[in-house]
């Protein structure tokens, strides 16, 4: 039975007969029927519920809101013939509807304003990162004075997760990059009969640039994202507050173990990556350039300066420190909702990779100037 409404005049008073099933599904029909009523200028009206089958809050609200908009105040509406439960419902809706107002929608800022706001928030984030570095340094100094508070077990567990467990993926990817790099370089060198110089190039590129960057990017994606998500979920569950309340410092408990573990793990991964990348190069050299493994290794000995490997390994703790600091900070900045965990995790990976490219460029320029 559909919802309907009949408007009649009885003794000069408008009477609205409500009939049928006044439920949520019928609200569009009810709104349309109400819009057809001519109630303007009426000062009184009577609602008759004797033909009403069902009534719910949505339908009552639609009716009362329309009457109020037509200028019929609460006192001007009389109800008759309703079942007691419908009357109670109508009364409930009537008593609550005064506080209903369509929630104001915040105006959507323009493109320029959004760009400005995003820029300002990136600036604020970078500024406060510096503050966080200072805080971690102070807490680390405090830890030096009271080494008992250092969490060795947590640090070792993080080293295992971030370092040892990443060895297979780092080795595989650097091996493949070594293969690709040697192949491309070899194709060019073959034209000039300069195959043997490919060994110099591969050794230098893999040890000094490719292995450190690739290992750091993998660590940012694997461990950086994990740190932010772990610490962020702990924030959502109020575990960070619990740590503070127990008189512990979240920096000691969460940040420093992760920072040290990552700074120790990344040089290891860079070394593994360098060996795997050179192995990949050696394979392609033997297969495509007819340089046997023994000749490859001999040439590498003669031309690869130890400084290249040392520079590659030296960059690793710096990259690791940036990833760990950014990841832990973004985790601690998570707000109490699920989306914020996702946003901050994304931000950690993006920030880490950007910083790594910037630092790598800074290293290259500085070392060039120093003549190394």
């Amino acid at each position: 039975m559909a919802a309907s409404i009949d408007h009649t005049e009885e003794d000069g008073v408008s009477v609205l007969y409500l009939a049928g099933s006044w439920r949520l599904g019928a609200v569009p029909d009810i709104a349309a029927a109400l819009a057809r009523l001519r109630l303007e200028g009426r000062r009184h009206c009577v609602l008759d519920g004797s033909r009403l089958g069902e009534l719910d809050t949505a339908a009552s609200f639609t009716l009362l809101r329309h009457l109020a908009a037509a200028g019929l105040a609460r006192a001007a509406i009389a109800a008759r013939g309703f079942q007691p439960r419908h009357e109670r419902l109508l009364e409930l809706v009537r008593s609550r509807m005064d506080t209903v107002s369509a929630a104001p929608r915040a105006p959507r800022p323009g493109l320029l304003a959004r760009i400005g706001r995003a820029t300002a928030s990136i600036g604020a984030l970078l500024r406060t990162h510096t503050g966080f570095v200072g805080l971690v340094t102070l807490e680390a100094i405090a830890l030096l004075r009271r080494p008992r508070l250092f969490r060795l077990r947590e640090t070792v567990a993080q080293f295992e997760a971030a370092g040892l467990n990443a060895i297979p993926i780092v080795a595989l990817l650097t091996f493949l990059i070594g293969v690709v790099f040697t192949y491309i370089l070899g194709m060019q060198a073959q034209r000039y009969g300069a195959q043997i110089f490919v060994v110099d190039g591969v050794g230098l590129a893999v040890c000094r640039e490719l292995a450190p960057l690739l290992a750091a990017v993998i660590v940012a994606g694997r461990s950086g994202a994990a740190f932010t998500a772990q610490i962020g979920s702990m924030k959502v569950q109020e575990e960070i507050d619990a740590i503070r309340t127990l008189g512990l410092s979240p920096i000691h408990v969460l940040v420093i173990p992760r920072l040290l573990a990552l700074m120790a793990a990344l040089p290891l991964l860079v070394f593994v990556g360098s060996v795997a990348g050179i192995a990949g190069g050696m394979l392609v050299a033997a297969w495509q350039l007819d340089i046997p493994a023994a000749v490859f290794i001999d040439r590498l000995h003669a031309t690869l300066p130890l400084s290249a490997l040392v520079i590659g390994l030296a960059k690793a703790p710096v990259f690791a420190a940036f990833v760990a600091i950014i990841a832990c900070r973004m985790g601690l900045l998570v707000a109490r909702d699920a989306r914020s965990v996702g946003d901050n995790t994304t931000s950690t990976v993006v920030q880490s990779i950007c910083w790594m490219i910037v630092i790598d460029a800074a290293f290259a320029v500085a070392l060039q100037q120093m003549g190394i």
């Binding site: 439920r23 949520l24 599904g25 609200v27 569009p28 709104a31 719910d56 809050t57 949505a58 609200f61 639609t62 809101r65 439960r85 419908h86 109670r88 419902l89 409930l92 809706v93 609550r96 509807m97 506080t99 209903v100 107002s101 369509a102 929630a103 104001p104 915040a106 707000a335 109490r336 909702d337 699920a338 989306r339």
Partner: protein
């Protein structure tokens, strides 16, 4: 009796651990029923079996006469539109604003145009006693009690015939909890709403509940009006109501 909800010899086992060992009861239209029992007696598990989230090991659960666990997904989804659930911590979607949370059922299950939905969302918030400004806030900005009210507004959005409440007044201050009782009572009377709740709030049991079901050792050990249940000689039930007997005119 026109049973809205019926549970027939439900057995639940998790591995070797038996939770329910033949639980049976029925709830009629318009009744307000509370399920009580000590912690770990499987109240929450039973609630999840009723709303189609956990499958019982054996036995039948019927909602509006349909066997929940034998129904095809379409029937189960149609059933889900006819009941609302208030989870213990509210279970609001944290990435949506309060108003968007309440609007989700309207958007997913009705074809109402946006200009009709917005005022209805406002009404639902007003019904649970929240100001219109609350609508723009995020669930993370709300207190526990307010989150619960928003969750109730969302559960009531589609005008359900049956409402499941999991610890509805836990985390509310006494004044807020009594206002909540009043709200549930008015709605259950006005809408002919059937309410099934898991609760420990004695005031709620005395104030608005028609019938109390007591779960212990995997079975229903008492089922009836509060006075009858209080007279039961089970030691746990006696302990449970002890505080109330000592201060009969308290609260």
């Amino acid at each position: 009796m026109d049973a809205v909800l019926s549970v027939e010899s439900v057995v639940t086992r998790f591995g070797a651990q038996a939770v329910h060992d033949g639980v049976s009861f029925a709830v009629g239209r318009g009744e307000v029923v509370a399920l009580i029992g000590a912690s770990g007696t499987g109240k929450s598990v039973l609630l999840k079996e009723l709303i189609g989230l956990i499958r019982p090991t054996a036995g039948t659960v019927r909602l509006f006469g349909e066997d929940v666990w034998a129904s095809p997904p379409e029937v189960l989804n149609a059933l889900r539109r006819r009941f609302g659930v208030l989870f213990q911590d509210g279970a609001l979607f944290s990435s949506l604003s309060v108003a968007e949370n309440v609007a989700v059922p309207f958007r997913e299950h009705t074809r109402l145009p946006a200009e009709l939905v917005a005022p209805l969302v406002g009404l639902k918030l007003a019904l649970v006693g929240l100001a219109a400004e609350t609508g723009t806030k995020r669930p993370a900005e709300l207190s526990g009690g307010m989150r619960k009210r928003v969750a109730l507004a969302r559960a009531l959005a589609l005008e359900p015939e049956l409402l499941f409440l999991d610890e509805p007044t836990a985390g509310l201050d006494p004044v807020g909890a009594r206002a909540f009782d009043e709200l549930v009572r008015v709605l259950s009377e006005g809408l002919g709403l059937t309410v099934f709740m898991v609760t420990h709030d004695l005031d709620l049991l005395f104030g608005i509940v028609d019938r109390v079901i007591v779960l212990a050792n995997g079975r229903v050990i008492a089922d009836g009006p509060i006075e009858e249940v209080m007279a039961h000689d089970d030691p746990w039930i006696q302990d449970y109501f002890q505080s109330r007997k000592e201060a009969p005119d308290g609260a």
